[in-house]
């Protein structure tokens, strides 16, 4: 079905991307939870959603949707439309709610009629591709106590927006905060990388720093090499690495003295 036909059926307005109305779509996904959207892997589908924040555009690109239709008359802000332009994602708006939009398109045959074979053909070509991953990367500076914790906070906000369960967010936040603080306290600089997939969240903290001479010792609760001025701030309790391990499902640490440390944590959804 052509995008122009969808526009007509839903009595939709094109917010951006008139020149894309000729593209052919085979299916649709209706969802308001980002994790459901990420988990959807239909080929050449449109996304019907009431979410209008900027992460919806990134998610759409990652999940390779052909276009977004905002339902119940929702209009995203200007910067979100700008982002869609950059990413070449056509945006439509309909006054119908999600339920009716889905019903109208289904009724018209989208996703279950003569298009089916084409869908299968298109989908089989995608099987070998890697699953959808949303990646967030934050640079952390050693000794920068003013911005310490910012990366963990920003990541938490994203996880909240994409509808991740609050008990999972708590675990990821704690692990991320401890990892971030470790870089600030001990390293020269580092990075915090979140990979969000439909099944798990992987958190990698890598730094350039002094490294850890005795990892076993560092993993003991209460053991810390932090100097007194840091302990006075309430850090350096020797709980950082143990907390990261406690709140993640998979925990791996690798360190080279004089070079740096890399910690990898996985939290299952």
């Amino acid at each position: 079905m052509k995008l122009s036909k969808i526009k007509e059926l839903l009595n939709a307005e094109v917010l951006w991307g008139k020149e894309y109305l000729d593209i052919e779509v085979f299916n649709a996904c209706g969802a308001d939870l980002m994790s459901d959207i990420l988990a959807d892997n239909k080929a050449n589908a449109i996304l019907l959603t009431g979410l209008t924040h900027r992460h919806i555009i990134q998610t759409t690109v990652m999940s390779e949707f052909a276009a977004i239709v905002f339902v119940r008359g929702k209009i995203p802000s200007k910067d979100v439309i700008e982002l869609a332009k950059e990413q070449k994602v056509p945006l439509l708006k309909t006054d119908f709610p999600l339920f009716e939009s889905c019903g109208i398109l289904y009724e018209a045959g989208l996703g279950h009629s003569q298009d089916n074979k084409k869908v299968l053909d298109a989908a089989s070509g995608r099987e070998s591709e890697t699953p959808q991953v949303m990646r967030l990367t934050y640079d952390i500076l050693g000794n920068d106590f003013n911005s310490a914790g910012k990366a963990a906070e920003q990541a938490k906000r994203v996880l909240k927006q994409i509808g991740i369960d609050s008990s999972i967010i708590r675990k990821v936040s704690i692990a991320a905060y401890e990892a971030e603080m470790n870089i600030v306290i001990h390293a020269y600089k580092g990075q915090l990388i979140f990979s969000i997939t439909p099944k798990y969240i992987e958190l990698t903290a890598k730094d350039e720093g002094p490294g850890i001479p005795d990892i076993e010792k560092a993993m003991e609760e209460g053991y810390s090499t932090a100097p007194d001025r840091i302990r006075e701030l309430g850090f350096g309790a020797g709980m950082g690495l143990p907390n990261m391990k406690k709140f993640s499902d998979v925990f791996e640490i690798d360190s080279v003295v004089g070079k740096g440390t890399e910690v990898r944590m996985v939290i299952y959804l």
Binding site: N146, K150, K156, S173, Y177, E178, M239, N243
Partner: protein, 114 residues
């Protein structure tokens, strides 16, 4: 119990502006070690500490704590207050010690839960 109900018995001064003092408190937690708080404090707890640098706001915001009480009139950085206002985390200051704040708050909360 709501935040504004503990203000008087604990002799609290609200140092942040325009924050939600209507918020419901579930419990309390006291520690000056940030990692310890990260691991053990629970959502909607009031956190009692003498730490007052900006990282206390990060901890409170990550754990969704109800408020921070800085005890013993410890001075609070301007940056901490600004950041708490951005994150909508109420910070209170009191002349009482951590021990006294905990004792009074514990009794208020357990009286409420019967």
């Amino acid at each position: 119990m709501k935040l504004n109900e503990i203000q008087e018995p604990l002799n609290l001064k609200l140092v942040t502006k325009v924050v939600n003092t209507d918020r419901v408190i579930r419990g309390g937690y006291a520690s000056d070690l940030l990692s310890w708080v990260m691991a053990h404090a629970k959502e909607h707890d009031v956190w009692v500490t003498i730490q007052s640098h900006q990282n206390i706001v990060a901890v409170a915001s990550l754990l969704n704590l109800a408020a921070i009480i800085v005890a013993e009139n410890a001075s609070i950085d301007e940056n901490t207050i600004n950041k708490a206002e951005q994150e909508n985390i109420p910070i209170y200051s009191t002349d009482k010690s951590i021990y006294e704040v905990c004792g009074i708050l514990y009794n208020l909360l357990s009286k409420e839960s019967g």
